[in-house]
């Protein structure tokens, strides 16, 4: 039997309706908050992209100091931009903020290759022909001396490659190598005198590119970096030899020292700069974008030859370059070891020694080549090496320091984002 208690039933129905209304209001509130947040996020994302576009087209000197401004002179479009040199590349940071929300991104930018300046091989005209022998392959355009390129029989090797020798356009080179960007080189050389903090006894250090660079100084004490993981906005400096052990894990960091020794088996992604020498052991792997560079200003008085050397079976993706401001004295030497693979660009202001079975997927610019046999030295000889422009990724971006860089910049690597 149902009791005829109308008031009780009405109160229960009213409660049910009230609960439904409350849940409806709650759902609407959260939906509105979420959709507003999504709208703000989209607006921030557009502002962030606008900032990235501004950095990609800005002059090199623009945004060196962090700049905050309103993008469209409105209230909700604040943007902070910064661009700073990071070794041979540039690192940019963009922050877009609106009310309490902030979106940020940091990334590396580099230059596209200028096709009018690009060459697989550039040897300046110093009245000396370029001689090739063995299974030498040159694929791509080449700037060659007036004396030309010729096949030779040397060290029991007859030339066995393509009859054209250079599979690509042959052009006449000028008397000098196209120069590197000296302004950027000067800036880089300042880091050799930088002072920093003492290296902490941590196993792992990570520094964000949104903050200040962590500079660690080893001073005059020869040090070996081993069993360490260093990642991000970190610069290592030493006034003497710095040894990088194969157990060290380096990612995106910079190293400045007079002499750098990388032990065999090292794997990482870093930029190494030295005034005297960089010695890389066997089977090392430098991931893109890495760089090895000798920068020798006129202040350095030592009489020995600055040198970059890679031992057998190593690979590097990025750049290798040598620069000496003084024209007199021993010019730097770059030695690429047997069966090494370089994906990128080699610029040697002095001499470049390519040992047998070296593969360069990219381009080479050098004043002269050197071939060393057991008994003698040959100048401007290429034996059993492969210089192949098609081995370079179509997405490869070069450092603005190189003469093949165009003004157009692109994003090379995303570093941090939220």
């Amino acid at each position: 039997m149902i009791k005829a208690s109308a008031l009780y039933i009405v109160i229960i129905i009213a409660l049910v309706i009230a609960m439904l209304c409350a849940s409806l209001v709650a759902v609407a509130y959260y939906f509105r908050a979420e959709s507003q947040q999504k709208h703000r996020y989209e607006q921030l994302s557009d502002n962030l992209s606008s900032g990235i576009n501004m950095l990609l087209t800005a002059r090199d000197s623009a945004f060196e100091k962090e700049k905050t401004f309103s993008l469209f002179s409105g209230g909700n479009d604040s943007l902070t931009l910064q661009r700073a040199a990071w070794g041979v590349y540039d690192i940019c940071t963009v922050k877009a903020f609106m009310q309490k929300d902030t979106l940020y991104k940091s990334f590396t930018i580099a230059s596209q290759i200028d096709s009018s300046k690009w060459a697989t091989l550039y040897v300046p005209d110093q009245d000396l022909p370029l001689s090739v022998s063995g299974k030498t392959v040159i694929t791509g355009d080449a700037f060659l001396p007036k004396a030309g390129i010729q096949q030779v029989y040397i060290a029991n090797n007859a030339y066995q490659g393509d009859k054209r020798i250079v599979t690509g356009k042959k052009m006449l080179s000028s008397k000098k190598l196209p120069p590197l960007d000296t302004l950027r080189l000067k800036r880089l050389s300042l880091y050799f005198n930088i002072k920093g903090d003492k290296f902490p006894a941590n196993d792992s250090i990570t520094a964000s590119f949104l903050g200040l660079t962590k500079i660690f100084d080893f001073g005059n004490q020869a040090t070996t970096v081993k069993n360490e993981s260093l990642k991000g906005n970190i610069l290592l400096h030493a006034d003497t030899t710095l040894v990088i052990d194969s157990t060290a894990s380096l990612e995106n960091i910079l190293i400045f020292a007079p002499t750098i020794v990388v032990k065999s088996g090292f794997k990482g992604n870093c930029q190494l700069f030295a005034t005297d020498s960089i010695s890389v052991g066997a089977r090392c792997q430098f991931a893109y974008p890495s760089a090895l560079g000798i920068i020798r200003s006129s202040k350095e008085k030592t009489s020995f030859q600055p040198k970059i050397s890679l031992d057998t079976g190593s690979t590097l993706a990025g750049q290798i370059f040598s620069y000496q401001s003084a024209a007199k004295g021993l010019q730097p030497l770059i030695t690429i070891g047997k069966a090494d693979t370089i994906r990128g660009f080699i610029y040697s202001q002095g001499t470049l020694e390519l040992k047998e079975k070296v593969v360069v997927g990219g381009g080479v610019m050098t004043s002269r080549f050197l071939y060393r046999s057991s008994f003698s030295l040959y100048e401007n000889y290429l034996i059993n090496v492969r210089l192949d422009a098609s081995g370079l990724s179509p997405y490869y971006l070069t450092s603005p320091i190189t003469p093949i860089a165009s003004k157009k910049k692109k994003i090379l690597q995303w570093l941090e984002a939220n």
Binding site: S5, I9, V10, I13, I17, A18, A28, E42, G51, L71
Partner: protein
């Protein structure tokens, strides 16, 4: 009651007229409040029209990023009039363009708006 015999003298439970009137008033009040809340919620929520207009503007922006000619134009897309304004961002940055897209409905009310700095294609 159905299925049982009603005997004279027994009490049948029932609501008084006052109870019923009060119940009806409460139900009416509760329902009217509920309807008010419902209409407010549906009116204030993001309309499908706005979402659609935003999607159209985003598509136009993507197109402008790759094919911007620098010309202003007004086009009709579905129920909306889309106004596209492309200007140089500043005198110093010649490679940059400011794209301003606005969607208007049939009553010439602004439905959605987008602004972005793009690289001149």
């Amino acid at each position: 009651m159905a299925g049982s015999e009603l005997k004279i003298g027994t009490k049948v439970p029932g609501s008084t007229i006052i109870e019923v009137v009060i119940s009806m008033i409460i139900i009416l009040v509760v329902f009217s409040i509920a309807m008010m809340i419902y209409s407010n919620v549906t009116r204030s929520s993001l309309s499908a029209q706005k979402v659609k207009a935003s999607a159209i503007l985003r598509e136009k922006l993507n197109y402008a990023e790759h094919n911007a000619t620098g010309a202003d134009e007004t086009m009709s897309v579905g129920d909306f009039q889309v106004e596209q304004q492309i200007d140089p961002y500043s005198d110093t940055a010649s490679h940059l363009l400011k794209v301003h897209l606005t969607a208007w409905d049939n009553n010439h009310q602004k439905v959605a708006e987008l602004q972005k700095i793009i690289i001149r294609p």
